[in-house]
Symmetry: C2
């Protein structure tokens, strides 16, 4: 439970307003209160003082205020909370993320700075804490538990139990982030058990991450005191997790969208242990669809009672994380709240955070800007030449990574390679391209090379420094020359995304903060991303978002075949494997 | 949030059982699981290891165990939690309380050692913590916030902010107990604001106590971050508290019984913020009716869904107090659970605490005994003579305390006194007796004298060292001689209760621990109390329990007229007042 902290003198002033002796800073009159504590909606006025709710009265005019806002019958509800999000996925800094989501009604996020932690370690987490200090958006942080995700890649940092312990006292740190190494937890591996115990001993939450895990392994995972999960993809899986004591975070983000599948488990009895989360939210989706408001709208449209939907976005999440003065409109609570006109098609008209009007009609009242210096950007890519991307043909057949549309899992496909001058080359006829993952943290000079299918590029190359979880530089392309240009372009920007073809840069977006985030507003990033997508389409790409697909091709914890800077990873065997098949393996390929 | 603490090595062993690699200590098979997390009931087996739930499986035989218990279709639910209780009211020590309630299915209590704190201060609270250490019953403690209750009485101790702070780190201390001085809170009095802030800063709960408080004062009280209340007597009052952010503890005890009145507010949406509590539970009621099991039965009989009723007795309370590994049957949770045959007439057949069978068929498996030395008993009553109880007749009319059946409020009644030899004497014809409150903590020699009506004693005297909140010695009687004997008898026992008449002691019960608790088993105390009640009846007493009535006659925070060692208290004016009326007051008495 995080403390409800109010200085005694401040408390006395709040009490004077609450009991009606002194005027409130602000009184919101004529609204319909969505009371998430009782599940009721009724007319009420809300008095605010010093950033807190001072009182709620059922009769308008009960409280005097220095400022009065007439709501004219609009609904008034607590501000929304995202129960689990990697802010880095928005590709903008916390200030710009706040500018984007406050007009959508989000006033708090429980974030896991896992991406920047893989690049900059504790410095990365500290930067996110500092860069979110004093924002109208409350940014809570769970400490990234699995940095690096595996030993089959080179990350920028390694976080041990002691590292996490050093940040546990921060007032906005709520616990330990998703324990992705679930086999490690289930099997009682020291590092995992100790990280869980670290959170428990501090009286904080330990978040989970158990995709498709059920039965006894799930029981074991729960026994470690891990109390949430956001990876359910089916209703039976989510119900089993609810029964086993997990807060089920229903995820509807940009990469994974589970709302449709999980809504059937939400009812009047189970709702309290369910929350909404986005996990990852891309700039374009934030801009065009929204954030937690989008999930509420979608859930309501599918028949979920709007009050329950709002509870999943507010009180349920606050209570789970021990945030006892957030998530409801009641005396003493932070005055984070939203107004809207239509309960069944919720579009936020005003957002108040800490008692201040921070957004109205889709616009923030005052743009937040970042003033915190990011960790020193060090894109330590080796000197790249064409030769860096050459694959000597030491076999006739190779394992090709088959990217699948809208999925982060891949297939491993044995393919006879096309060879020119003793070198494996792309075969655009069969949609077989080259892929490289270039280490960029420690100047190891590591370059992993392989083949990928599914992008359908007919020319050029794409490169990006967003590549979960180690965020090395990933390049997909047709020719070594264009791959070299793309990689150099990203390296020269100090991180980012680009598309090149025939020696020309078709588009580029610098992501100078850790190679993950822009220092520009979200609108700018969204526009540039749309340009980059057009550029990739012009090269023949058929994937809706090839850069997002690339971001997961280097993630060796998601099946089936991935590429890191250390080489190809057979995720099913959890081991590095050679690119080329042995003669025996070639002989065993089924003929069709 | 109190930490879920499991040593990493112990966690590894638990995980091995959970995943099925090593056998459980105990497997409960063939039960119907009441899953309070989803509100469902379904067949399941429960594996237990090291005092924790290791796993729950829907198919019997999934887990191997060193001991197997076949439940034969009985229901299995989490052990019950009393959300607010003064253990001292049971008149027995924590070990004997545990012996009494474990067979009833209670496995945890959130206690407020307010009574012993008024007698022995911090030593009293420390004694209750030590005397409950290692019991199969988990005894949590809220730190008594209002000792003494007023300055119009002499208590044994005074607890300041610093005193409470010294115990806040104890692992079983969950926060600050009921903030009874609600005018002090609402008006922002330093002591109250600081005690609230003390709890908040520690991230702990601050319990409330706001009888009949509504509207703006209630909003102010909630603004202080006080998050529970157990004093509601009507549904509208309780609903207003729910709406304002309070956990509503529905109290059904011995003194106050609010279940009937409050059940209408409990529904599928509001239930999560409701809990069951007893506040005070007398030995006889514990023995004949039960504890939390009695409230569940009664609520269910009145139509509350049994699963909701069990949630009010388990998970809702655990979550409110941040006890995240209590109140449900799920992996990692403490293995505190009960079995029973009938969901709609719940009688516990077995109680497990920390994985051990601690009670079966109404009997504890092994009686707990107290081995902790209580604080030194010091009944410092002055030397008493007949003269100590004489009331010189300095007026014609006096304010008489009118005790009302089954209520702790009294009325103030102006009465013409009966005078003999210049002294006011009892008038049994008009049921006007004498009452004395003798200071017993500090040897002040204070004796408050007054008149009381409602007991109908025709002879003799009753005395008790249980007299909320300061627990001075209260005596009600017909003659000074018998009052002297009764008071001396209690003083000689080192505290307790007695009935005397005509110079003979008709019955007595020593309460040697703080003058509040016996060192004997509850059965013995209940039997002796029944004897004392018979003795009072033999003296003509018409009150069902005159000792309980006496226990509240010295409580100057409950209207209308009370008596402390400092004299009569006009509670409506919150001031000491004279026994005799002035000539003007006599003239103003309405004639009938």
């Amino acid at each position: 439970m995080k403390p409800f902290i109010l200085d005694p003198e401040e408390m006395k002033r709040l009490l004077a307003v609450s009991r009606g002796d002194t005027p409130a800073d602000l009184v919101l009159r004529g609204g319909q209160l969505v009371n998430v504590l009782t599940g009721e909606i009724y007319p009420a006025e809300v008095a605010i003082y010093g950033g807190r709710i001072a009182g709620v009265a059922e009769r308008d005019g009960t409280y005097k205020g220095n400022t009065i806002v007439e709501l004219g019958g609009e609904f008034i509800a607590p501000g929304f909370i995202d129960a689990h999000v990697h802010l880095e996925s928005s590709m903008v800094l916390p200030a710009e993320f706040a500018n984007a989501v406050l007009p959508r009604g989000t006033t708090s996020v429980v974030s896991d700075p896992h991406e920047i932690a893989n690049v900059h370690g504790l410095d990365g987490i500290r930067f996110m804490l500092k860069a979110s200090e004093g924002l109208p958006l409350r940014v809570f942080v769970m400490l990234s538990s699995c940095v690096p995700a595996t030993d089959m890649e080179t990350s920028g940092a390694r976080l041990g139990v002691g590292d996490l312990a050093s940040l546990l006292d921060h007032p906005r740190v709520l616990g330990i982030a998703e324990m992705m190494n679930y086999p490690g937890v289930v099997n009682g591996v020291d590092d995992m058990v100790q990280k869980a115990a670290l959170g428990h001993t501090a009286g904080l939450r330990v978040d989970g991450h158990v995709p498709l895990v059920r039965g006894l392994p799930l029981q074991a995972y729960a026994s470690a005191g891990i109390s949430s999960d956001h990876e359910s993809v089916s209703a039976p899986e989510a119900l089993e997790k609810l029964r086993s004591g997990f807060q089920v975070l229903i995820r509807e983000g940009s990469t994974a969208r589970n709302l449709d599948a999980l809504l059937p488990i939400v009812n009047e009895r189970t709702a309290r242990f369910c929350s909404f989360a986005t996990d990852d939210r891309q700039p374009d989706d934030l801009e065009t669809q929204g954030h937690i408001d989008y999930i509420i709208r979608k859930a309501t449209a599918q028949g979920l009672d709007p009050v329950l939907a709002i509870q999943l976005a507010t009180i349920n999440t606050a209570r789970h994380f021990g945030l006892d003065d957030l998530g409801a409109i009641a005396p003493g609570y932070h005055a984070d709240l939203v107004t809207f006109k239509d309960l069944r098609d919720l579009h936020v008209t005003r957002t108040f955070a800490g008692g201040q009007l921070v957004a109205q009609d889709g616009q923030v009242a005052a743009r937040a800007t970042n003033t915190v210096m990011p960790p020193i950007n060090n894109m330590l890519v080796p000197d790249l030449t064409e030769a860096s991307f050459r694959i000597p043909a030491t076999g006739s057949h190779a394992r090709v990574i088959q990217a699948l549309p809208e999925q982060i899992v891949t297939r491993s496909m044995p393919v006879e390679v096309r060879v020119q001058d003793g070198e494996v080359v792309a075969d655009t006829q069969r949609d077989i391209l080259k892929i490289a993952v270039i280490e960029r943290h420690k100047r190891t000079g590591n370059i992993g090379l392989g083949l990928v299918s599914g992008f359908s590029l007919r020319a050029g190359a794409l490169a990006s420094s967003i590549a979960h979880d180690s965020h090395n530089l990933v390049v997909v392309g047709v020719t070594s020359e264009d791959m070299m240009l793309a990689a150099r372009t990203v390296a020269d920007m100090g991180g980012g995304i680009c598309a090149v073809s025939g020696g020309q840069v078709l588009g580029k977006l610098p992501l100078t903060v850790a190679g993950l985030m822009s220092d520009q507003p979200l609108e700018h990033v969204a526009t540039e991303m749309r340009r980059l997508l057009q550029a990739s389409m012009s090269l023949g790409c058929t994937l809706a978002n090839p850069y997002m697909a690339m971001a997961f091709l280097a993630l060796p914890v998601i099946p089936e075949l991935k590429l890191t800077d250390m080489g190809l990873v057979d995720v099913m065997r959890f081991a590095i494997c050679p690119l080329f098949l042995t003669a025996d393996e070639v002989a065993a390929i089924p003929t069709r």
